[in-house]
Amino acid sequence: MSAVPGRAEATHAPRVAVVGTLMVIAAFVVQTAVLPAVGVPVTVPAVLATVAVLAVAWGRRSGALIGFGAGLLLDLTGTGVLGVGALVGCLLGAAAGLVPVGRWRWSGAGWVVLLVVLAQGADTLLDALLLGQRLVASPAVLWSVTAAGICTVVLLPARDLLRSVVR
């Protein structure tokens, strides 16, 4: 729970809001339209991965807010229960903000991937519980976990760049 030394806790609020919003919208378009259009057979959680990376870069406060907004966007345009994505997103942001950031570029990558996978699983489970949907065992689960991992690792190098935005 202690503050991680060297982390800028969202010092530049308007810049964080603008860059965060743009990145979430870009991730949303990539997740829902671009990847299906090029033939990726399963939904890649690009939005959740973006939330996690932004939270790692900018801290829990920004992470929770951006996660809430991103989740709400997914809820409003998806077929699940409104609020489930927002809940998962804000908790993911708050949790990813606690991942220690070291000097090494990939430090904390494992935690971030784990959090994204957990968030995605929680989203699916909550929707299924609330709507009384059938949960089916499917190879898609493995696909999703792999996709979450790849997506997060691809986004993670953006962290340093993002941290320089708030200084």
């Binding site: 671009v34 990726v40 939904t43 406060r61 409003l76 077929t79 949960l135 499917s138």
Partner: protein, 242 residues
């Protein structure tokens, strides 16, 4: 630190309030408005990136004459007579273990309503779930929440097919334990005679496997859908019986 914790608590409470509100009184207008905003973005992104997907598919299935025919005409040929149709392009997709939903860029302003049948080349691929003026979501037959009444040809035995998620064959259950059916038999919709629902006689897929030991309650097996969910492009919606 306390301020951050308060913020997280406020956001969690807000989310829970939204969940309760949506479960008690779902508001279609809000979703419709959001869909209106994002559909143009998704349509543009799809238009830009679809050629890459088409190229990748061509490399995989070299020289497939079926894919070269103008898509909408090819589908419209399979549509039953006497139905008004609307065409839409798939602009977004959500395909996972628990969901198989695509969004098309045609909606209520084209006459599309929830429950309408959606066709791809070969037959039925799903039904309309939600609509906004310029977009509609299609629950594909492979969605685990999708159940469709079918008949097996040629015996005309009744049954239901249920989706099992991405990359899995459909589950087929025939009501009659002594039903005559074999792999490669065609499945058609049982359908309804309502003005907007799924009409009878649309191809849903074909039987791929049947249990050899029929249970007392019926026969079960597996079926293949008419087309893969990842190659959907233009779809035709049966909006209303004329």
């Amino acid at each position: 630190m306390t301020r951050t914790r308060n913020l997280v608590v406020v956001l969690v409470v807000a989310s829970l309030t939204l969940i309760l509100w949506d479960l008690r009184a779902s508001d279609a207008a809000l979703r419709s408005a959001a869909q209106q905003v994002v559909t143009p973005l998704q349509r543009t992104a799809t238009a830009v990136f679809a050629p890459f997907g088409a190229w990748a598919r061509q490399v995989q299935s070299f020289d497939d004459p079926q894919s070269r025919r103008p898509a909408v005409q090819a589908i419209a040929v399979t549509a039953p007579e006497g139905w008004a149709t609307a065409a839409g392009r798939v602009v977004a997709a959500d395909i996972s273990g628990t969901r198989a939903v695509v969004t098309i860029d045609a909606g209520s302003s084209a006459g599309i309503r929830p429950g309408n049948a959606v066709l791809a080349p070969g037959g039925l691929v799903g039904r309309i779930q939600q609509v906004s003026p310029g977009a509609a979501t299609v629950q594909l037959v492979t969605d685990p929440q999708s159940t469709i009444g079918v008949r097996v040809l040629p015996s005309r035995e009744m049954g239901v097919v249920t989706g099992r998620g991405m990359g899995q064959d459909l589950r087929l259950e025939l009501l009659n334990p002594a039903a005559r059916a074999e792999p490669s038999n065609a499945l058609i919709t049982l359908g309804s005679t309502t003005r907007e629902g799924v009409p009878p006689g649309l191809t849903v897929g074909s039987v791929t496997a049947l249990d050899t030991d029929p249970a007392e309650s019926g026969r079960s097996g597996e079926a293949a859908a008419v087309t893969g969910t990842t190659t959907l492009d233009m779809l035709v919606v049966l909006t209303e019986r004329r």
